[in-house]
């Protein structure tokens, strides 16, 4: 059985300056109550690893709006003018990574690999200063693993052991991030007793999940 935390207690697990991963894609499939608690707690100096910064005041965008983020490692900020603005005035460091590379960097950390060998980014600005590795006469860009202190993920349904099921496009980065953080906190829409999720339906094994978020009363 995994501890079931209040949003505030979960936010308290994240110190200022921590590196966090947050699931979601343009606000879909993000752990919104966890995000609200972190924003309300006024955390500062966080490094954010996520697909995008969503929109202002939506999903991960709230962490940007609340000034929690010092550095973000993301693939897209085009729908969040606030992120653009903070980047331009030097308040927020933005490291842009191709989306497929980003998710594999997270996976490689989570599954104990030394990084990603990809053709994506070769010959572009993204390759600047990076190691090139030749395999079978083909060049690949080497991108290192990416880990976090805490991963904040969202799921459609959990059991109390932490086994997770996702729904449709709310899946996105969530199952991959569950592999790659020291502490994994999951906010699920539903929590059911252990045994209620078929072993074949589990997308994230409960052994990866440290804490569940308490459901709203």
């Amino acid at each position: 059985m995994k501890p079931v935390l209040s949003p505030q207690a979960a936010a308290d697990l994240i110190p200022d300056g921590a590196t966090i991963m947050v699931g979601g894609f343009m606000g879909v499939g993000s752990p919104n109550r966890l995000i609200d608690a972190i924003a309300t707690s006024q955390r500062t100096g966080l490094t954010l690893i996520a697909n995008d910064t969503a929109m202002p005041e939506k999903g991960i965008g709230k962490l940007v709006s609340a000034g929690c983020i010092k550095t973000c490692i993301v693939s897209h900020i085009g729908l969040n003018p606030e992120t653009q603005q903070l980047m331009n005035n030097g308040t927020l460091e933005v490291r842009l990574v191709p989306q497929g590379t980003l998710v594999e960097q997270i996976r490689s950390a989570g599954v104990g690999l030394g990084g990603v060998l990809t053709k994506t980014g070769l010959g572009t600005e993204v390759a600047t200063g990076k190691q090139i590795v030749c395999v079978d006469d083909q060049n690949y860009l080497l991108e290192p693993p990416l880990r976090a202190d805490v991963a904040l993920i969202a799921a459609r349904q959990a059991d109390y052991f932490g086994n997770l099921e996702y729904a449709l496009t709310a899946q996105n980065f969530n199952p991959i991030m569950a592999l790659a953080a020291d502490t994994v906190i999951c906010e699920a829409d539903h929590i059911v007793p252990v045994g209620m999720i078929s072993p074949d339906a589990v997308r994230t094994p409960g052994v990866l999940v440290d804490h569940l978020l308490k459901r709203p009363s």
Partner: protein
Amino acid sequence: MDAKTSIAQRVAKEVRPGTLVNLGIGLPSLVAQYTGENQGIFFQAENGVIGLGDPPPTGMEDRDLTDAGGGYITAIPGAAAIDSATSFGLIRGGHIDLTVLGGLQVDGRGLLANWKIPGKFVPGMGGAMDLVTGARKVIVAMTHTAKGVSKIVPQCTYPITSSRSVDLIVTERAVIQPTAHGLVLLEYAETTSIEEVISMTEADLIIPSNVKVIER
């Protein structure tokens, strides 16, 4: 017909039955409306679904079923939901038959720039770098000019998206194929002329003897 519609209609003719197709957000996403039904075409949204369907009826949107732009979608029978690692595994692994993307610039070598205007607007590459590098065929669907300035240039001044050349450029005025010898004009719109296309294109164009009028 507006420029976007005419571009989307022409691109739709490039979509083959029984293929897996990724459409970028914005203009490219319109292409799906003009491909025939029942051709076994599966559209991928890189945020995690294979088998996009029509937009949902009002009031029947699902917050957990969206496209890569965050817009509500539906899915067809036979659709599959996948995580981002699988989604980009399909893209990088050569499993996508065709991707249609927007562009800021395409140059004489067929290189695309579509993720950054230095000092002005930096949306980020999202999935574009993986798509251009990994899809079997890449079509750029964009207006021919932006504020009167040609988007087809001798050499990209914005950062490129991939070192892989795109396969086709479709604008409201022309269909252009990048080749080892340069950009070849394949078709021009009936509302324009070859001469006008040449004058509105900053990059050099090769004009073969059999240039056709665009059929939509």
